[in-house]
């Protein structure tokens, strides 16, 4: 499976992260997105007329939407990540997969503006990003009340991986995560998953120090 990839792209990272979590090895083909704008060049435009990355190729199959890549990787290697056990769960997963596009269009565009100088109305993008984060925070709080740690279930699904990168990187676009304790806890839970990999701006959890123990003999 070949991934046309940019190391700083949160959408590309979704595919890399999902593959790592379900144990699929990707053949990475780096794309000079910045400063070279290679994704707008003839080779990649022929593959994806939308001019976006990531692109995932597996034999005849060419995927250009990151949510479809998550579903494909999960269906191939770890179907429990699809979350289609019940009608309600399947629908909730789809709800968050669709929602994730709002994160890309708001927080993702704000990040490109603030970091790589792409055009955009930064106040509007940050405002839309904040509205999306508030919605996500409310959704995660409701999940906690139901006793569930992840967006759609008590186990991680493709919905979590679709939403996690742009949320975790919101501060890159000047949107703080300080007001959202449920989002921060969820982010920590995802970073603690077996097989988790990081990307620039998303740091791994460093090993926690051992519990402090009282020193015998001290007053």
């Amino acid at each position: 499976m070949k991934l046309y990839d940019y190391v700083l792209s949160p959408s590309c990272y979704k595919a890399r992260l999902m593959a790592a979590l379900v144990g699929v090895k990707l053949d990475i083909r780096p794309v000079d997105f910045h400063p070279g704008a290679e994704h707008r060049g003839p080779e990649l435009m022929a593959l994806n007329p939308a001019g976006s990355i990531p692109i995932l190729e597996d034999g005849d199959l060419v995927l250009t939407e990151s949510s479809a890549m998550l579903v494909y990787l999960a269906a191939k290697a770890a179907p429990q990540w699809l979350g289609n056990d019940t009608a309600g769960l399947a629908a909730r997963v789809q709800q968050w997969l669709s929602f994730s596009h709002r994160l890309t269009a708001s927080l993702g565009a704000a990040r490109l503006h603030e970091m790589l100088l792409r055009p955009g109305n930064i106040d509007a993008l940050q405002g839309q990003g904040t509205a999306a984060l508030r919605e996500l925070e409310a959704g995660l709080v409701e999940q906690h009340i139901r006793g569930q740690r992840f967006l759609a279930s008590d186990r991680p699904t493709v919905a979590d991986i679709a939403c996690f990168p742009y949320v975790a990187l919101a501060p890159d676009g000047g949107v703080s995560l300080d007001p959202y304790p449920a989002i921060r806890l969820w982010s920590r839970t995802i970073r603690g998953l077996d097989g988790f990999i990081e990307m620039p701006g998303i740091h791994r959890l460093h090993e926690l120090k051992p519990e402090p123990v009282p020193v015998v003999g001290e007053a």
Binding site: Y6, V7, L8, P30, V31, D32, H34, P35, G36, E38, E114, M115, L116, L117, P171, D172, G174, P200, G201, H203, R204, H206
Partner: protein, 281 residues
């Protein structure tokens, strides 16, 4: 603080390869400027009031100044050696003081924690003794004999090696790193950080490299350096205070911070304080 003492300096304002007739609107120390390619093919830079600013093209970038530069742009003789690959890494904007961006570049101790498994790894966190001096003749800050264990020092490095470094600060917002060159022992890879000060707490950073590496695809070289720099970016945007403190009472440095101490001392001596905080607040 004031920009007066830094106004005659040269600053990067564009990639030379992206210079076009349409031009680019940007800023230098609070003043809006325009950068474009003139009809004669040379770079033209215009200041806020329409006046023509000095311009030159060097090390992959267009350089300009708001004042009247008394000296040509600093020399990097190694960059002109034949056989080097010249890498335009591209701009990254950071909401931090331009001086803090340089200071972070000079720091070795953060490698295992911020660039984990690339430029450093626990438990190899010790910064061994190294030499720091302000070279009076060149008027530059130099750190030499810096050695650090690195799991993947460069794209061309196979596995962990102890890497030797030299750091050089030839201008208040520019730093050059010389680093052991895995494919060509005896030569130094050149990795630079050119910082364009937009405001006291905002900068555009233009990393650039001149490497001996005939194997690695150009995109991989770009991505390696972008990965490193964007790992730093989130740290830089969260440093407090936002301006670089030059008051010795503000922070307590350790031995590992000798380069930073010399850099701050040199800035203070010259009054290079745009982006700095002189008195602890």
């Amino acid at each position: 603080m004031t920009r007066d003492t830094m106004i005659d300096g040269w600053y990067p304002v564009s990639l030379a390869s992206q210079l076009d007739a349409h031009g680019r609107s940007t800023a230098l120390m609070g003043e809006p400027i325009e950068v474009r390619r003139g009809e004669d093919g040379n770079a033209k830079v215009t200041g806020g009031n329409g006046r023509a600013l000095p311009a030159c093209i060097r090390y992959g970038h267009v350089w300009s100044s708001l004042g009247d530069p008394q000296k040509p742009l600093f020399a990097i003789p190694e960059a002109d050696q034949p056989g080097r690959r010249l890498v335009d890494v591209g701009v990254v904007r950071v909401r931090c003081s331009p001086l803090r961006a340089v200071e972070n570049f000079l720091d070795i101790a953060h490698f295992p924690f911020v660039h984990t498994d690339i430029l450093g790894a626990e438990p190899h966190t010790e910064v061994q003794n190294y030499k720091v001096e302000i070279r009076e003749d060149e008027d530059e800050v130099w750190a030499t004999q810096v050695r650090f264990y690195q799991p993947q020092a460069a794209k061309s490095a196979e596995g962990g090696i102890t890497t030797e470094y030299m750091y050089r600060v030839p201008a208040p917002t520019c730093s050059i790193l010389y680093k052991t060159c895995p494919p060509r022992p005896g030569e130094w890879d050149v990795i630079t950080l050119f910082v364009q000060p937009l405001a006291e707490d905002l900068c555009d950073v233009w990393p650039w490299m001149a490497l001996f590496d005939d194997e690695t695809p150009m995109t991989d070289l770009i991505h390696f350096q972008q990965t490193i720099f964007v790992q730093d970016r989130s740290i830089l945007e969260n440093q407090i205070p936002r301006l670089l403190p030059l008051d010795p009472g503000m922070e307590i440095p350790t031995r590992a911070d000798l380069t930073s101490v010399a850099y701050r001392r040199w800035l203070k001596r010259h009054g290079y304080t745009y982006g700095a905080q002189l008195v602890a607040q």
